[in-house]
């Protein structure tokens, strides 16, 4: 019976690591279950960090799990013998404190560089070769129960001017340039979640947040739309708070802005409110 139980515990790391592999290599029945397609510039850093850490924890998982299973296999009870009488081993304790300690610190240092790049620098000042360029937020995202309003800066690329226009749940963004979005919430906590850009940011009412990223045109498959989700519980409609992200080539984005501008003027004239 000991053997049976040890096989059961052997199966844990084997099946566990197995599922990870099936998922990572798109093998049935785990097709399309690995990380979502990445279309961002910096997403590769996050994905790479995830894969590195998964390799480390996978190896530890397999190692400790197999040792556990083997202990049960090899040391089953016998009335004729006694267990080893040992209270521990100081050298072993030191070794298995220091080695994991070094690995953990290494993980921390490794991820810190990218975390800084991802979240800490000021996105409104682009620095290159000593020049500082001021960057304007392209779109103001206003979250409310249960949808997203996108206020576009318009042709003049400045928010809160007359040529701004608002689209509900539809976010059009140009590719191959750095994009800064302003996030606001009208009511409760929401979280702006772009799976394919590795962007997630909670939005707190009364506080303005910024997110920034670039979409890489070569990673965007022609004609794909990407989802915008809410990742922070916000009420009964939380799961329905979805928007759509349309990456556009730079020229097409300008065309899109001009079209919207024209459309807006048309609507305004139709309403009879033009001065």
């Amino acid at each position: 019976m000991n053997r049976f139980w040890s096989i059961l515990f052997f199966l844990v790391p084997i099946l566990g690591v197995g599922v990870c592999f099936l998922s990572a290599f798109d093998i049935a029945p785990f097709q399309n279950t690995w990380l979502p397609a990445d279309i961002s510039e910096s997403g590769k850093d996050i994905d790479q960090a995830f894969v590195v850490v998964m390799w480390i924890v996978g190896i530890v998982f397999l190692g400790t799990g197999l040792i556990l299973g083997f202990s049960l296999w090899a040391h089953s009870f016998s009335i004729d013998r006694k267990a080893e009488y040992s209270h521990g081993n100081t050298k072993l304790e030191i070794a298995w404190s220091i080695i994991p300690g070094i690995i953990l610190i290494a993980i921390f240092v490794y991820q810190s560089f990218y975390w800084e790049k991802q979240k800490i620098y000021n996105p409104l000042e682009l620095q290159s070769d000593g020049d500082v360029t001021q960057v304007q937020p392209l779109v103001r995202v206003v979250a409310r129960k249960f949808g997203w309003s996108f206020r576009y800066a318009g042709v003049d690329a400045t928010l809160d001017t007359a040529d701004d226009f608002i689209l509900e749940n539809e976010l059009y963004l140009p590719v191959d340039r750095s994009i800064v979005l302003e996030l606001e919430s009208e009511d409760v906590l929401h979280s702006f979640y772009l799976r394919n850009l590795r962007v997630k940011q909670d939005i707190i009412p009364g506080k303005r947040q910024l997110v920034w990223f670039s979409i890489i045109s070569s990673k965007v498959e022609q004609g794909k739309i990407y989802d915008i989700l809410c990742a922070e519980l916000c009420g009964w409609g939380h799961s329905r708070m979805n928007g759509r992200l349309y990456p556009l080539a730079k020229e097409k984005y300008q065309v899109f802005l001009a079209e919207q501008n024209a459309l807006q003027n048309q609507v305004t004239m139709g309403g009879g409110n033009t001065p």
Binding site: W5, V12, L15, V19, F30, T33, W34, P36, I46, A49, V53, M54, V57, F61, T64, L68, S71, L72, H75, S76, K82, A83, E84, H87, G88, E93, W96, S97, P100, L104, I107, F108, Q111, S112, W115, Q118, K119, E170, E186, D187, L189, Y193, R195, Q201, D202, P205, K207, G223, I225, D227, L229, C230, L233, G237, H238, S239, R240, G243, R244, F256
Partner: protein, 616 residues
């Protein structure tokens, strides 16, 4: 010995079994209450799993009763209530009180050689304060939404209404109960140890309880304050956590709530696992017939976990809008807390290695605790990094992680503890065959339930979604609109739509497994109650264990010990080469006493009353 316990036999049923001040009765009261709530929380979990697998179809029982006009289809609010109450009940009414309230109460005096707790009346109150909590939680089900639907983290400003008031009052009562318990445990462990029981001769269970009590004593006041502030926001119209908006003139700061809440609720994660780690250490050492590997490193590591546990709460808030520099510091402390956890795992493996393993049902549950805690601990490492947390935060990866720690970890440890100490508490053995069947089926179905949640997590599937159908609908609609416009040459391929098939089958698989996980607990219930009546009678020390509780009669009478225990050694002297038997009770006289006359004269040999043959 206090008056209540010494005169216990003369008291009426009400005072002996209901308003008892005996720690064992109070512990048993906690045990039964929490097991009943465990069943309630489990039913809520299965209900929410049914919604996730077959969204917006008729919900059995619940649905037809409450949503008859909708054909039994539950509302999205009701779904939010299900997961909120599942978490609230499991955390505050099951795991915390079953570890500290039930096991802490039953084991602390027995294992340190005391006749009762330091403050028996306070101890009784700590149980009875749970009842207002039960009632308030019950009342919150009676509010218009059938209960709170804001998630167990209760983030303002989403929280409001009568359900919130009842929920907050319930939690405040649980906090008061925990506070009274922790003061009692600390005093008892520090002051009432038997002669010879030094701190470094305490079993790991007691160390786990001790460190947990410290955590509770220091972290709880913050939660209680935060709960009271939110209560004032809700009832009195103050604005601690509600920002200025159309709905409220608050001027408060929602992030402040998150800081205060997690300042308690992260240490609470360790409150919910350290006692289980202690119990599992004792059980593994006993059934490996081998001293615990690295007793002092184990103590240092739980102390390390507790110390670091106070400065890691920010990892729940990496993307909350908190200053990202803070994220860096919290990342360092969080990643470092993996170290003492790893040391504990290595020491458990060291204990198993070269042991003489008796795979009884408590041992199987204890080993599965280690096996599962490895998964739960390792899955914490990616999300300890704020960088990797960006895609994984608020996805099913977090759900998998917490359930591997709290269900596959703590609950399996609790089962180990129940199977192990049941003979001491009720005087009868539980059935081994039923116990092993229960273990096997629970182990398989829990992994089937929780493992694939990791996969959903790295797919980026957000948690707390009532269904994923609307995603697909929105996507299809968007594609249709585009097709109509056809201005940008976009066709109707969509990324989430491609993933959608996987989301559907994984969710169905998880739901079937979760239902199985619920059903197989029948083996436990049958075994638990059946053994009360028909279990084999247990002697004082059925497992040939070392610690003090096994020197008392089973079940122990009022005052616990029928002799004054004197401790001569640590709790893990199994397979001592100079001893004939493979265990040495902590009260056994020294093997080669330096002054034989002094040492043995005052001793009563507790093993003398055991049935023959048990001492091998």
């Amino acid at each position: 010995m206090n008056d209540a316990s010494s005169h216990g036999d003369k008291q009426s049923f009400l005072w002996r079994y209901v308003f008892s001040r005996d720690h064992k009765v109070i512990g048993t009261q906690f045990l039964f209450s929490t097991l009943i709530w465990f069943a309630a929380g489990g039913i809520l979990a299965i209900a929410l799993r049914i919604q996730l697998a077959w969204p917006w179809t008729s919900m059995p029982y619940f649905g037809n009763e409450l949503f008859a006009t909708e054909g039994g289809q539950i509302s999205p609010d009701f779904y939010n209530m299900l997961f909120t109450m599942h978490a609230s009940i499991m955390i505050f009414f099951v795991i915390i009180p079953i570890l500290a309230g039930a096991f802490g109460n039953i084991l602390i005096p027995l294992m340190i050689g005391a006749d009762d707790m330091a403050f028996p009346t306070l101890n009784m109150l700590s149980y009875w304060v749970m009842w207002p909590a039960f009632i308030f939680m019950g009342l919150s089900f009676g509010t218009p939404t059938f209960g709170p639907g804001f998630g167990w983290t209760a983030n303002p400003p989403m929280t409001e209404g009568p359900a919130l008031t009842f929920w907050l009052l319930a939690l405040i009562c649980v906090g008061i109960s925990s506070m009274m318990g922790s003061v009692n445990y600390l005093t008892t462990i520090i002051q009432m140890r038997a002669p010879g029981m030094t701190m470094f001769r305490l079993p790991m269970t007691i160390w786990g309880m001790f460190v947990t009590a410290i955590l509770q004593a220091f972290a709880l006041p913050v939660l209680t304050a935060a709960l009271s502030m939110q209560l004032a926001d809700n009832v009195l119209g103050t604005g601690f956590f509600r920002p200025e908006s159309a709905a409220s003139s608050g001027g408060g700061e929602p992030l402040m709530w998150q800081h205060l809440f997690w300042f308690y609720s992260h240490p609470a994660v360790y409150i919910m696992i350290l006692p289980a780690m202690g119990m599992v250490s004792d059980i593994i050492s006993c059934f490996a017939r081998k001293p615990l590997f690295g007793y002092k490193p184990m103590i240092y590591s739980i102390s390390g976990i507790a110390g670091l546990g106070f400065i890691v709460w920010g990892h729940h808030m990496f993307i909350s809008g908190m200053n990202p520099w803070l994220g860096t510091t919290f990342a360092l402390s969080t990643i470092l807390i993996a170290l003492p956890s790893a040391v504990k795992v290595f020491n458990w493996l060291g204990t198993l290695w070269n042991g003489n393993l008796q795979l009884t049902s408590p041992m199987l549950f204890a080993i599965s605790f280690v096996s599962m805690f490895i998964i739960g601990g390792l899955s914490g490492i990616p999300i300890a990094s704020p960088l990797i947390d960006i895609p994984l935060h608020d996805t099913y990866f977090i759900v998998a992680h917490i359930h591997y720690v709290l269900f596959a970890g703590t609950v399996m440890g609790v089962f180990a503890g129940i199977y192990f100490w049941y003979p001491k508490l009720f005087g009868r053995m539980m059935n081994e065959t039923l116990g092993k069947i229960h273990f096997l089926l629970t182990f398989v179905s829990l992994n089937a339930t929780f493992f694939l949640m990791h996969v959903l997590g790295w797919m980026g599937v957000p948690r707390r979604y009532a269904s994923f159908q609307s995603l697909k609908q929105q996507i299809d609609e968007g594609a249709q609109q585009l097709e109509l416009a056809a201005s940008n040459g976009v066709d109707k391929i969509f990324v989430m739509a491609k993933d959608y098939d996987a989301i559907v089958w994984i969710n169905e698989f998880i739901t079937y497994s979760a239902i199985a996980l619920g059903i197989v607990q029948v083996f436990f219930v049958v075994n638990f109650f059946g053994s009360l009546l028909w279990g084999k009678r247990a002697g004082r020390n059925p497992w040939n264990a070392n610690t003090l509780e096994w020197t008392t009669p089973s079940p122990p009478g009022h005052g616990n010990f029928d002799f004054q225990p004197t401790v001569h050694r640590g709790p893990y002297e199994y397979s001592h080469p100079e001893s004939e038997k493979d265990f040495l009770l902590q009260t056994d006289p020294p093997l080669a006493p330096p002054h034989p006359d002094e040492e043995t004269a005052t001793l009563v040999d507790p093993t003398g009353s055991m049935p023959a043959g048990e001492n091998k």
